[in-house]
């Protein structure tokens, strides 16, 4: 039986980790490669690297990070942030990532998903969508709106409409990131996660708000998600991969067993 995945996201700026991240066995603090390796060895199922480098030169640095990760980390990982074209994606895949992650660029030009799926296969194309609660209107029948640039720009685009469209264009997986829940550590937005998971047939990853083991359990059961994304819970050291997984499998979910310690 297919297991539920526990995924973590690392923000990278100019080749270094952008958030404060706690290191267990530190060799090079702030090195995303070192951190990725630590999580890999702990039994994490998948990783996401989000490149928040602003400059053009940063792109080459990120590709170097991707190559170094691919040399040491033998689980799937995706790269997002700043990808605007099919050739950007091709470079990232060539460097060793399994998947690419589009967010704002796909909202601005949805055909990008179609082009990338045609070039690399839908299994390589992940759509990340940032969503916020909004008053129900004829344009926003679900009461959830797609936003870009970290929530600063509302798009007048209904979250469920967008998820369905993205799937039909070729997104092979959808990350539902709740801007309302993000950073609160009070739990994922179960409602929008479930509504999107029920509206599409591709896997859905819950993101934003995870702070306790119970939150992942809720997202993977009541939220109908196939995977849950964790960031600060792991990065700040309050939880471990093994601890999260032991909790989830203890509650009866199919979970990949971490390697024996």
């Amino acid at each position: 039986m297919l297991t539920k995945r526990v995924i973590s996201c690392l923000d990278v700026r100019d080749g270094k980790l952008a958030k404060s991240v706690k290191f267990v066995d530190t060799k090079d603090i702030g090195d995303p490669v070192e951190k990725a390796r630590e999580y890999y060895e702990a039994g994490l199922d998948e990783l996401v690297f989000y490149d928040i480098t602003a400059s053009h030169e940063g792109r080459g640095i990120m590709l170097d990070v991707v190559r170094r990760v691919a040399e040491q980390v033998f689980i799937p990982f995706s790269v997002g942030g700043g990808l605007r074209s099919v050739s950007d994606a091709g470079q990232v895949l060539e460097a060793g990532a399994e998947k690419v992650n589009y967010n704002s660029a796909a909202v601005k030009r949805p055909e990008l998903l179609e082009e990338a799926a045609r070039a690399f296969g839908a299994q390589c194309v992940v759509l990340s969508m940032d969503v916020m609660r909004a008053p129900v209107t004829p344009e926003l029948p679900s009461g959830f709106e797609v936003v870009i640039h970290g929530g600063r720009l509302r798009q007048g685009l209904d979250a469920i409409t967008w998820a369905r469209r993205a799937e039909s264009l070729g997104a092979g997986e959808i990350v539902v990131n709740s801007i309302d829940a993000d950073g609160t550590r009070e739990g994922y937005d179960i409602e929008i996660t479930r509504r999107i998971a029920d509206a599409v047939s591709v896997p859905v990853i819950a993101s934003g708000g995870g702070g306790e083991n119970q939150h992942l359990y809720d997202a993977l059961t009541a939220g109908h998600a196939d995977a849950a994304l964790v960031a600060s819970m792991l990065h700040y050291g309050s939880h471990t991969v093994a601890g999260i997984k032991a909790y989830l499998s203890g509650r009866g979910l199919p979970i990949r067993k971490p390697p024996a310690a």
């Binding site: 039986m1 297919l2 297991t3 995945r5 890999y40 039994g43 199922d45 691919a70 040399e71 040491q72 033998f74 689980i75 799937p76 895949l93 060539e94 060793g96 399994e98 296969g121 839908a122 299994q123 092979g172 997986e173 047939s201 591709v202 896997p203 109908h224 196939d226 995977a227 990949r256 067993k257 390697p259």
Partner: protein, 211 residues
Amino acid sequence: MITIVDYNAGNPTSVKRALASVGVESVISPSADVVRDAERIIFPGVGHARATMAVLIERGLDRALSDAFARGTPILGICVGAQLSLSHSEEGDTPCLGLVPGTVRRFPELAKELKVPHMGWNRVRVTRQHPLFEGVPDDNEFYFVHSYYLAPADGQRVLATTQHGIEFVSAFEIDNFAAVQFHPEKSGPLGIDILARFARWQPAARKAPAC
């Protein structure tokens, strides 16, 4: 030295890196001559059956792989590489290499929560002992990404099965050829171990070909 077949089907570098992590040397090659004379071959791949078969034929790799198989070279097919070794694929109604009789089938309509592509970590139930799976624990998981599954004609050849709505073949072998549907290069330490065992695998001498 392992030769990894390059035919524009996904990224052969991930297999090379996984081998390097356990000290196994490999070379990625698109050349039929190199593949034909290889000491040991990994035939990986991600992509559409019809498109990838066309590249194999264009490069003469179809003949090279058949020749290498006939002369007893140990070969490991991974994902699309495993699928293309069978006779036919339902994906694009594509005639394949036919190293092993059998077909590649599309997953049937499954329950809503069972998605296709079958993507993620799933258990491999080893049904017959084989050097590649030596020491793999029963409660294992390997990484899969596929919409079509292996259906070798001869059930005796099956090494392992996996459940996703249906029970499908996740590994089989015939003499010097072994095939896995999952991606050992993306399956963490258990997957790396399979690659390391392949690098040491000495298949029994191949029976003389029929003609």
